[in-house]
Amino acid sequence: MAAPEHRPSSREVLFMMTCLCDAFYADVAKAAVQVLEHAGCQVSVPPDQTCCGQPPFNGGDFEVSRKVARHTAAVFAGERPIIVPSGSCAAMHFHGNALQFEAQPDREGVDSLGKRTWEIFDFLVHGLGLMSWPGVLPPRRIAIHHSCHTRGTHTGGAIRTLLGSIEGVELIEFGQDEQCCGFGGTFSVSFPHISAGMGTLKLDHILDAKPDLLVSGDMSCLMHLNGLATKQGREIPHRHAVEILAESLDRA
């Protein structure tokens, strides 16, 4: 699912925190704002934002998910780029909405949402043209899990570019890295056993590579993987990629 071309890349941006950061991961949203500001952005955070609508959408409940999408489109109306610290929510904006509004009379509003949405790393590298990130971190072997919704987008490469440019960071590979972590939102609730099997296999591969830290551009995958790992007694330090950028700034 390719991200749209020709998205606006002005430094006046709207920030979408995602429901997951709203509920669980405040530090990720804070880091994202700090990183964007460091990159010279003026960040606005519309307070009426809620969710991209993915849970009902993935359940095939388009009538319900369209309501949420319409709300989001209204909250983020305008011309400014919309920056999201999640490849998954970004894909909902430019891919999911196109699908569920295919034959809807009001598809224009949500189309505008998709045409302005950037996953944050994609924006930093391909919107703002950053090719490296300042700062030094203590030596660390980092495994990057690329979330499934970033397949076919430039996010994966962008995360590697920026993290790889920080002194002290060593990016390491692990087996079957194209495989899903098993979360899939409501999928993990409807199919708890298959989902756990997928996640366990993923953890096996990641832990085999002996990373100091597991990093991703999507907190949902990390939440799932760590939830499993903790239950299995093999917790793994994990952070959103944008937190690494923010940490590096603190130490710059």
């Binding site: 955070v45 388009f62 998910s65 999911g96 899903c180």
Partner: protein, 473 residues
């Protein structure tokens, strides 16, 4: 009482660990080899599948034209062409052909179309012995089992299970060396080929331009099903067409690499008629049965892109759900991502209610789309089918109703309040929740600590250039 779990998850839960291990190992291995061979051979493998997509989409958009063309070219080359709207009709027509030729025993080369119409049990009921000759299909047949993969019918069995099957069937004492297994099947089946009256095959492609049908096998069983026999019957889905012979170069290159990571399948046959006059061996009669079985309806629906499928099985190999659950979990002839789309759509009118749950068995990870040689947007089609199932009010265990969520997500004030209030969740014993899927979820996972609203408070407190917050507040 209906199970509180999705049928596929329930199946996976009780799947024998050794079966799961066999499926994961083979599927992962083939996935890895596939990408390796594509990258080794082509600078831009993606461009090739985008082209294949265009050719195939064009074909199904003009299916009436190409089907008619293929029919007339096949007839001109001396083949007889039949059409079957559904499984029962196809079975009856095949039986009639066999009876006309006085055939009581036949050999069969692997064909998903004949699996789809359950041809073997039908023929058996009418006194005709039909012997599967593909090694995997042969094992499946003597075990009274079903294939669990499009390309690798016994991906769910390990060598010990296969060796036991042969032993039970009287093909020698237990020996689980794959070489011995293969030799024994070779010896056993050679006799059968030579003592049959007909060979039945499927067909991988049909070129409308020449009527040439293409058959690929690695084992050579399609060749052997034909060479000693007087009658050849091919059962082929109506969507298997390509416009021209030249297109076959594109599809054969992609099919072999996608299915088995080969440059080309060992045996590729191009046939548009009975044997030549000078040739002493081979069918004198060639019959092609074009099978609809719901395809023409799919063509008019929102999932028509699935008709591009060339049955390579790459989506099954790469699918993490398929790997965990195995093909049989999907209950239908086709398993994995392709099956989750196809099974509810083809066959008779009750397929949708029978298999309406299959499209849910996906995390929508999109790996299937990434490997598909004809670029079918499988996750999109799964979503459309979920939407269809929702509208048809099919039951969906383990899927919470989303109406209340939408109410919350469209009422910002309520949303913000509940974000903060839900911190109480940190103190609830959720593992005792009266919802089985949630209990099962928490059985194997922990939830992170609820910190709802914290980011919003941080924004308000910080003396920073973040605007809007104040403006809207």
């Amino acid at each position: 009482m209906a199970s509180p779990l999705q049928p596929i998850d329930d199946y996976a839960r009780t799947l024998a660990p050794e079966t799961r291990a066999a499926v994961i190992k083979s599927a992962a291995f083939t996935s890895g080899q596939r990408i390796e061979v594509l990258r080794r051979d082509y600078e831009d493998p993606d461009a090739l599948r985008k082209l294949a997509r265009k050719i195939k989409q064009h074909t199904i958009d003009r299916l009436d034209h190409y089907l008619e063309q293929a029919e007339s070219r096949l007839k001109a080359a001396g083949a007889q062409v039949h059409f079957a709207t559904d499984g029962p009709s196809a079975c009856r027509q095949v039986l009639k052909i066999l009876q006309e030729h006085g055939v009581t025993r036949l050999v069969k080369s692997k064909s998903m179309a004949t699996e789809e119409i359950h041809l073997n049990p039908f023929l058996e009921k009418h006194g005709i012995e039909s012997i599967e000759t593909d090694l995997g299909e042969f094992i499946v047949q003597i075990d009274d089992d079903h294939p669990s993969h499009i390309v690798r019918p016994i991906i769910h069995k390990n060598r010990r299970q296969v060796a036991e099957s042969l032993e039970r069937h009287g093909l020698g004492a237990y020996d689980d060396d794959p070489k011995t297994i293969t030799r024994r099947a070779r010896v056993h089946l050679r006799e059968k080929y030579m003592q049959s009256g007909a060979g039945i095959t499927g067909g991988n492609f049909v070129s409308a331009e020449s009527g040439r049908m293409v058959l690929v096998t690695n084992e050579g069983n399609a060749r052997f099903s034909m060479a000693p026999n007087k009658v050849h019957i091919a059962v082929i889905g109506i969507e298997k067409l390509v416009p021209r012979d030249r297109d076959l170069a594109v599809f054969l290159s992609l099919l072999a690499r996608s299915a088995t990571a080969q440059q080309i399948t060992v045996y590729t046959q191009f046939i548009n008629g009975p044997r030549s006059a000078n040739q002493p061996s081979g069918p004198e009669h060639m019959h092609v049965v074009f099978l609809d079985n719901g395809r023409s309806q799919v063509l008019g629906g929102e999932c028509r892109e699935i008709l591009r499928c060339i049955r390579c099985g790459a989506c099954q190999n790469v699918c993490p759900v398929y790997r965990q659950a195995s093909g049989h979990a999907y209950r239908a002839v086709y398993g994995g991502p392709i099956g989750a789309v196809l099974s509810p759509l083809i066959g008779d009118s009750i397929s949708f209610s029978n298999y309406g749950d299959l499209p849910r068995a996906s995390s929508l990870c999109g790996a299937c789309r990434e490997v598909c040689p004809v670029d079918i947007p499988i996750p999109d089609l799964l979503l459309k089918l979920r939407h269809g199932a929702k509208k048809a009010k099919l039951p969906s265990p383990g899927s919470p109703p989303m109406g209340p969520f939408a109410d919350l997500a469209t009422s910002p004030k309520l949303w913000r309040t509940s974000m903060t209030a839900s911190r109480a969740m940190n103190y609830l014993p959720l593992q005792f929740a009266p919802v089985k899927p949630l209990r099962d979820w928490l059985d194997q996972r922990t939830l992170p600590k609820w910190r709802g609203g914290e980011f919003r408070r941080w924004l308000k407190q910080r003396p920073s250039p973040v605007e809007d917050q104040k403006k809207h507040a």
